[in-house]
C-alpha cells in the first residue's frame, strides 16, 4: 500500500493506493495523525486506488473522523470502489462519513459539510 499526501486549497488530500489491512493500515493511520495532529486542516482520503479494505482500515478512517471532530475540521472520502463502499454500508458508516464521487466535488463541498456528532 502506498500513501501520498498533497495540499489543495480547501483540504489536505491523502492518496491511498493498494490493500488496506491489519498490516498496512498503521501506515495510513500514521499519515492521518501526522496531518491532523494540532493542525486545523480539512482532510480528504482519495480511495480510488484502494482495492481492498478490512475492519482495521475502516477503524483508521473512523479515527480520522474522531480527530476531525476534536479539531473542528472536516474529514471526507472520495472515489470509493464498490467493495469499499459495500463494507462501509454494511457497517452503517456511509451515514457517518462525508462521501464524494470525485476530487472536484470533494474539494468544492468539504468545507460546507456538517460535522457528524454521533461518535462514541
Amino acid at each position: 500500500m502506498k500513501v501520498l499526501v498533497r495540499t489543495e486549497s480547501s483540504a489536505t488530500i491523502i492518496e491511498c493506493t493498494g490493500e488496506v489491512d491489519l498490516y498496512t493500515s498503521p501506515k495510513l493511520r500514521d499519515a492521518l495523525l501526522k496531518e491532523m495532529a494540532g493542525l486545523k486542516v480539512n482532510v480528504l482520503i482519495n480511495m480510488s486506488g484502494v482495492s481492498y479494505i478490512d475492519s482495521s482500515g475502516i477503524a483508521t478512517l473512523v479515527e480520522g473522523l474522531q480527530l476531525s471532530q476534536r479539531t473542528q475540521t472536516r474529514f471526507g472520502l472520495y472515489g470509493l470502489r464498490s467493495n469499499a463502499r459495500s463494507v462501509l454500508e454494511l457497517a452503517r458508516l456511509t451515514r457517518v462519513f462525508s462521501i464524494f464521487e470525485n476530487e472536484q466535488e470533494a474539494l468544492e463541498k468539504i468545507g460546507k459539510t456538517q460535522p457528524f456528532s454521533g461518535l462514541a
Binding site: D21, L22, D54, S55, Q66, V87, A91, G118, L119
Partner: protein, 153 residues
Amino acid sequence: MPNEVHKCRIVINSEARLLHVLRCVVRLRAQEAGVPSSEVDCLTVAIDEAASNIIRHAYGNRPDGRLALDVRTFPDRIEFLLEDSGPKISPDAWRPRQLDDVRPGGLGTYFIKCFMDVISYDEDFVGGNRLRLVKHFSPAGSTNHESTGQDRK
C-alpha cells in the same frame, strides 16, 4: 467427506504482512468452486478478518505462531477451517459488537457474521483454536442448510 470436490491447506506464520497470501488463496478457491463473484469479495473479507483476529488475539501480534487455513469445496458450499496453536481466544473476541456506537474497532467479527452462513468455534480443540466457517452458494433458494449464525461446539 461425501461430495467433497477439492481441498487445500495453507500454513503461514502469524504475520499480518502475510494476510494477503491467505486472501489470494480464498479468492482463487472460491472462484474455482463457482462461488458467485459478488460473494467472493465477502468471503475474502470474512476469512481475512478471522485470520486477523487470530494474529491479534491468539498470538498478541507475535509473528512466530502458526496459522493454518483449510479450504474445502463441495458442490453446494465452501468451508474454511482456521487453526492456530495460541492460547484459547475469549469468546468475546468472536462476538460482534453493536453498530449503534460509532467507534474504531470491533467490526471484524460483525463482517464475519454477515458474510458467513455457519460460524462454529470448536471449544474441544486441543492446543489452540479452531474456527469453522461455511458459506453455501448452491442450490439457490434451498433452505436445507445448517443453522445459520454463531455456534459453539
